[in-house]
């Protein structure tokens, strides 16, 4: 049985926020960490409900691969696809630098 602590620490929440790419201030961490501990505590009961041989459900209705004919149909123009971009240049998304990070 994997380890399921009934709470989560402030440092763990900081790490999880980091994984989720959300910069949290100290005040936000002070506020969110205890709330998350309470929520995790309340859902932890689930661990004892289902026996090992119960199959998991990822989706309410059984699905297999759904295929369609491989035909050309209209899509967005480049201008439409770029219409919401924070910055664009030469019909491309313009993004901040992606190299040089330590991590």
């Amino acid at each position: 049985m994997p380890d399921t602590p009934d709470t989560v620490s402030r440092e763990e929440v900081r790490h999880l926020a980091d994984l989720a790419r959300i910069e949290l201030s100290d005040e936000e961490l002070d506020h969110l960490a205890p709330q998350l501990a309470v929520i995790i505590d309340s859902v932890a009961s689930i661990n004892e409900v289902a026996a090992g041989d119960i199959p998991p459900t990822s989706h309410p209705l059984p699905l297999t691969n759904v295929f369609r004919e491989d035909v050309v149909r209209p899509g967005l123009t480049a201008e439409e696809a770029l219409s919401g971009a924070p910055e664009k240049e030469q019909q491309r998304f313009k993004v901040p630098r992606i190299l040089g990070d330590e991590q």
């Binding site: 999880l16 936000e28 309470v38 309340s42 439409e80 919401g84 971009a85 924070p86 998304f93």
Partner: protein, 513 residues
């Protein structure tokens, strides 16, 4: 002059056919109503006056030429702000999408346009549909037309309040854990969550893909069926869309409205009562059961033992899916981009972190972090993996219950509308509002909420939920319509006739005189 704003969508369609009014007149009447009452109600995030009137003129043109596009051609509608509307802002109630104008229509929206329904505007919601009160909207809370100091439910409180306040005859909502049905219950309106896969999710900004479903928000069961038939049905653009007919829902309503439920077996879910359920809500529920019995239904109790774990299951599966879905808000392709303070040449990752901190509200952050936790290595099997197994058990509970009965019933929400502010920073208390609605989303089955009276202790609306097996949406319409017509006979009209008159609202204080 007719009071068009208080007329049902079905009657508006008849009036258009009879030439008693025009779509322009109806659309303008609702735009005027929005201008008059939406300040204090705040059901809308965006009103598309010009677009709606242009669509209304086109509808009138089609009718004059004798080629109407659908039964509801010319009847205006409001759309929840989680559905992409080409050329009309779509924010999902979030700062991160402030000002975003989609370059395409959701399939639901495309079908509304094709059927000729002028789109009045976009309705308020909890940010990315996370919440049960609309208090988590980044653009202010929607107020319940029955009592402006109370919540209208959520996440689709804007759509429910819009129809309850007669700002729109019809609206579209989305229901991931109850976001159509619970707002329906607390505003005295009708809400339907179709079978999962019954209505296309293409262009519906995903909260949790395996749970989300769009559906009708209306004042009558017939109006819901008419709208469901417009937006439902197979869509090749959604790989989870069911390639089968949705059934004759309007016919099921007509059958139900006769008030005869002979031979229909109704199962009361044992697990949905007791502690945490408001006495007045339970009393109205019992009254409704008595009416169904009188109408010939056989009412029995059915136990669904795993339902007590539905809430915990949902709050693992939903955040897990949401944390993956919301990764798309990366400040690169659309939406907000915020540069971090005091960083000379920020990297893409630093920009992404700063943007997501500034653009997401507290509930969205809570759920993304919770989902990240549930999916992280070491905890995956214990949380997300277990939740998927319990989901199987919940579906099995439904399957065995539907061997004994045709429909399952419960109160839609455990309480009536609570005061704004009461639960906004108490996530667990907020989550309990969806106790009765969540099992249907986990199993993908259809459900309806029908207004069934006012609780004695506070005079606020309660809702009656009917659930049916997957693809048997017609059953929720039949039983829902039967209860609606039996209650209308008792009341001598609809429940909303008893709502306070917003025309007499004091606009400085927002308090009805």
């Amino acid at each position: 002059m007719n009071d068009w704003i208080r007329t049902t969508a079905a009657e508006l369609a008849d009036a258009l056919t009879a030439g008693e009014t025009t779509s322009v007149e109806l659309t303008q009447a609702h735009l005027d109503r929005i201008a008059a009452v939406d300040g204090p109600v705040h059901a809308f995030l965006h009103v598309d006056t010009e677009g709606a009137l242009a669509q209304a003129r086109a509808a009138d043109g089609r009718r004059a030429a004798g080629n109407t596009a659908s039964v509801l051609d010319g009847v205006p509608i409001a759309v929840k702000d989680v559905l992409a509307t080409k050329g009309v802002p779509t924010t999902c109630g979030s700062r991160i999408l402030e000002g975003w104008v989609p370059p395409y229509d959701a399939t639901v929206v495309a079908r509304l346009r094709k059927a000729g329904l002028p789109i009045l505007g976009k309705t308020n919601m909890d940010e990315f549909a996370m919440g049960s009160s609309t208090e988590h909207s980044a653009y202010g809370t929607t107020h319940n037309p029955w009592d402006l100091d109370r919540i209208p439910g959520g996440s689709g409180g804007g759509s429910a309040a819009a129809v309850a306040a007669f700002e729109a005859p019809l609206a579209v909502g989305t229901d991931t854990g109850g976001s159509i049905r619970q707002p329906g219950a607390v505003t005295g309106t009708v809400g339907v969550k179709p079978t999962y896969g019954g209505v296309s999710r293409y262009g519906l900004v995903a909260l949790a893909n395996s749970l989300d479903q769009a559906g009708p928000v209306t004042r009558t069961v017939l109006d819901a069926a008419l709208l469901h038939e417009v937006i439902g049905g197979h869509d090749p653009l959604d790989s989870t869309s069911i390639d089968q007919p949705i059934g004759n829902l309007v016919e099921a309503v007509k059958q139900g409205s006769s008030g005869d439920l002979s031979g229909v077996r109704v199962g009361v879910i044992t697990e949905m009562s007791g502690e945490g359920w408001q006495a007045g809500v339970l009393a109205r529920f019992q009254d409704s059961l008595d009416l169904l019995t009188k109408a010939g239904a056989e009412v029995v109790e059915v136990s669904c033992p795993t339902f007590v774990h539905a809430l915990a299951t949902y709050y693992l599966i939903l955040p897990a899916e949401a944390s993956s879905n919301l990764a798309r808000f990366d400040a690169m392709r659309y939406g907000l981009r915020v540069l971090p303070d005091g960083v000379a040449e920020p990297s893409a990752e630093e920009v992404m972190r700063a943007t997501r901190d500034a653009g997401f509200g507290p509930e969205v952050k809570r759920r993304i972090i919770l989902g990240t936790y549930a999916l992280s290595s070491g905890y995956y099997d214990a949380y997300y993996g277990q939740a998927q197994k319990v989901r199987t058990l919940i579906s099995r509970d439904f399957a065995s219950a539907f061997e004994q009965v045709d429909v399952l019933v419960s109160p839609t929400a455990p309480t009536t509308a609570f005061p704004i502010g009461e639960k906004v920073d108490d996530p667990l208390a907020m989550y309990l509002n969806d106790l009765a609605t969540i099992p249907a989303n986990l199993a993908g089955v259809p459900g309806i909420s029908v207004p069934n009276g006012l609780a004695d202790e506070d005079g606020l609306p309660s809702g009656f939920q009917v659930l049916a097996p997957a693809l048997a949406d017609d059953r929720v319409y039949r039983v829902g319509a039967a209860l609606e017509s039996l209650l209308a006979q008792e009341w001598g009209g609809s429940l909303l006739d008893q709502a306070p008159d917003l025309d007499r609202l004091d606009h400085r204080t927002g308090v009805a005189k």
